[in-house]
């Protein structure tokens, strides 16, 4: 069954056929053979891709959304449904914490009108103060954090709805 996936903002059409001891994967029509070892070495699976030996760590962010670590590179993989969801998130401008930290200051309130680039929250981490700004114009629709809160990476800070 053909599926559309996004790898680092590039689209690919893939089809996976599971055989007895390996996978046959067609990528945009091009065939590849992958042999996967079930044993994980510190989180890494051994994959022989067309004979090339690679160690891959795959972390599931949510259904259909994965982060692949191969060597020192991290690639984001999204299957179609997850991609649509992510795109929807962006139009609502969900602003999340780029790193773990402490909410040092909340500069806006619910229903405030904000403009692109406007500082929303100040996040303190590693002796640095980071300004988290609005990516679009709009109205503050959600503000689930307070001054003094500790947040983890990816935690929702502000949701901005475009003023229509």
């Amino acid at each position: 069954m053909k599926k559309t996936i996004m790898v680092d903002n590039q689209e690919f059409e893939v089809e996976v056929t599971e055989e007895k001891d390996r996978f046959l994967v067609e990528v945009n029509g091009e065939p590849h053979t992958i042999d996967i070892s079930a044993t994980r070495f510190n989180g890494f699976s051994s994959m022989l891709v067309d004979g090339q030996s690679l160690q891959v760590n795959c972390r599931r962010v949510k259904d259909g959304d994965y982060l692949l670590t191969i060597g020192h590179n991290v690639h984001e993989v999204m299957f179609r449904e997850a991609f649509i969801e992510a795109a929807m998130d962006e139009s609502e401008a969900v602003i999340t914490a780029p790193m773990p930290g402490l909410v040092s200051e909340v500069k806006v309130a619910l229903n405030d009108k904000v403009t692109k680039g406007q500082p929303l929250v100040i996040l303190e981490a590693m002796k640095m103060f980071n300004e988290i700004t609005a990516k679009t114009d709009g109205i503050v629709a959600e503000l689930p954090v307070n001054q003094g809160d500790t947040v983890s990476i990816g935690q929702k800070l502000v949701v901005i709805e475009s003023a229509e």
Partner: protein
């Protein structure tokens, strides 16, 4: 000899000192803050004491809490490591008052060399070359101006009590100098609590070469040759190596002798480093004295085959330095890279958090001084250093190849790291040639590895098959926004 040493530090250096203690049959006492309970140094120590909240001034920088832990544990000496209280002369003085041996120089020496102007005054009494500049302070702009004219523009304004580039400004004219002094004083006051500034001739395209020294309490001083530390980002060293590719034997010998003279005149004791700058004509000038064991000490240890930390402990307990200068030789080549939990694709934003998976390099010539382990959460309250990877080989080219190999083996999943940047530095032609200055990273741009995207897509397609069934991610929902990567990288490396 000491029976028990309290290490007033954390992370990889605390672990380093614990290992030295172990090899000498000395008990090692660790101290930890609220967020460091799970740290490696707590796990490896013989005893561990909680000393307070995460904030450094409530724990690792807190004199009373440290002294208190010494009393509780019955430790008979303190090793301050590097950073934190290591160069705090007031803490060293407090230890002297309390009768607790401080493994380092005397407090009066630390006070002398910690003040750059007084250090220059004292070193000026030797024949060691110094950067032309002021050796007394002044509040009179006319004096600054006269000096600048004398030594010639451009000049560099520096904070006397400072480091790390804070308060430093280049001035090319009297007008710029006036502004530099004004802003420099403000920055120095805010960063160091002292607004004393002075000027030196600005050395263009310098190389940073430092010499390791050891001095005992019986007047014996030796040097253990040099380390080249020119590869820096915002005054933070990233790569260090020894021998320095910039030096010929004659200069090396002269620098070593100058370093010993400087150590003697400031009455230095224990381990220290004399920093020099090399100009484009390979002339060297005294910069400052670092009164501590340094982050990059393993480079010297691998090239000379000597354990500096164990010798620090021996010296502090009163033993004589038995190593003779003529016995210290440089053998082979060593390179150290510092691995930080920072995102080089996003302006080196600190990236603390959970180390989900870790694969560490091993094999011939590899030394890894690391503060992390798989499943460890790197706290956000301190310096985001993950580890130091130090590699030794018979010659420089072999060392670079070995370092590339080691970096390739090193995998960290869960936090962003500077591993990719380090690998690319090792692959750089200019680095390979050995002909680089402190401006190296400014001209350096991070590039994307050549990747066969079709292969990645194939792996991606089967990724569901290799993901553990139940895995609630802590939330790395940040996708990669590639078009901003290049801009951020360039910006970050040009600072």
């Amino acid at each position: 000899m000491f029976k028990k040493i309290l290490i007033a530090n954390r992370g990889e250096i605390a672990l380093r000192i614990i290992r030295a203690c172990r090899e000498m049959g000395i008990e090692a006492v660790a101290v930890y803050s609220d967020v460091d309970r799970d740290s490696l140094h707590v796990r490896f120590a013989d005893e561990a004491y909680h000393i307070g909240e995460a904030q450094p001034d409530k724990s690792y920088l807190n004199f009373d809490k440290i002294i208190d832990a010494v009393r509780k544990s019955g430790a008979d000496a303190i090793h301050p490591g590097y950073g934190f209280l290591a160069e705090n002369h007031r803490f060293a003085a407090r230890c002297e008052e309390e009768g607790i041996p401080f493994i380092g120089p005397a407090s009066k020496t630390m006070a002398l060399v910690g003040d750059k102007i007084s250090a220059r005054q004292t070193v000026g009494k030797t024949d060691a070359p110094m950067i032309p500049g002021m050796t007394t302070e002044s509040r009179d702009f006319a004096e600054f101006e006269k000096f600048a004219k004398q030594i010639g523009y451009p000049v560099l304004l520096k904070a006397s009590m400072g480091g790390g580039g804070k308060g430093m400004r280049v001035a090319h004219s009297p007008d710029e100098l006036k502004k530099a002094i004004e802003f420099g004083r403000k920055e120095a006051q805010s960063a160091f609590g002292d607004d004393t500034v002075y000027i030196e001739k600005y050395i263009q395209e310098p190389r940073h070469v430092e010499v390791q020294i050891l001095a005992d309490h019986h007047g014996n001083v030796i040097h253990l040759f040099e380390r080249e530390c020119s590869i820096q980002r915002r005054y933070q060293k990233i790569v260090e190596e020894s021998p320095s590719p910039a030096l010929d034997d004659e200069t090396r010998r002269k620098m070593g002798e100058a370093a010993v003279k400087i150590a003697k005149i400031v009455d230095y004791r224990n381990a220290g480093t004399i920093e020099f700058l090399l100009d484009k004509d390979k002339k060297f000038y005294f910069l400052e004295v670092n009164a501590r064991i340094q982050v990059e000490h393993p480079v010297t240890e691998l090239v000379t085959g000597r354990d500096l930390v164990k010798m620090q402990i021996a010296i502090a307990s009163g033993e004589k330095l038995t190593w003779r200068q003529e016995d210290i030789v440089q053998n082979g080549h060593a390179i150290e890279v510092r691995v930080y939990a920072e995102d080089p694709d996003n302006n080196f934003m600190p990236s603390p958090g959970l180390v989900e998976y870790l694969v560490e390099p091993c094999g011939p010539g590899i030394r890894l001084d690391s503060g992390i382990y798989q499943n460890f959460t790197i706290p956000l309250n301190y310096d985001p250093i993950i580890s130091k990877l130090i590699v030794w080989a018979e010659d420089r080219d072999g060392c670079i190849e070995r370092m590339k190999r080691a970096l390739k083996e090193y995998r960290i999943v869960g936090v962003k790291t500077t591993l990719k940047l380090l690998k690319q530095i090792m692959e750089d032609e200019r680095f390979k040639s050995g002909d680089y200055t402190t401006h190296f990273l400014e001209k350096f741009s991070l590039y994307d590895d050549e990747i066969d995207m079709n292969k990645i897509a194939a792996i991606a397609a089967v990724s569901e098959k290799i993901t553990p069934k139940i895995h609630a991610s802590k939330g790395e929902t940040e996708g990669i926004k590639s078009k901003w990567k290049l801009i951020n990288r360039m910006r970050a490396l040009q600072k």
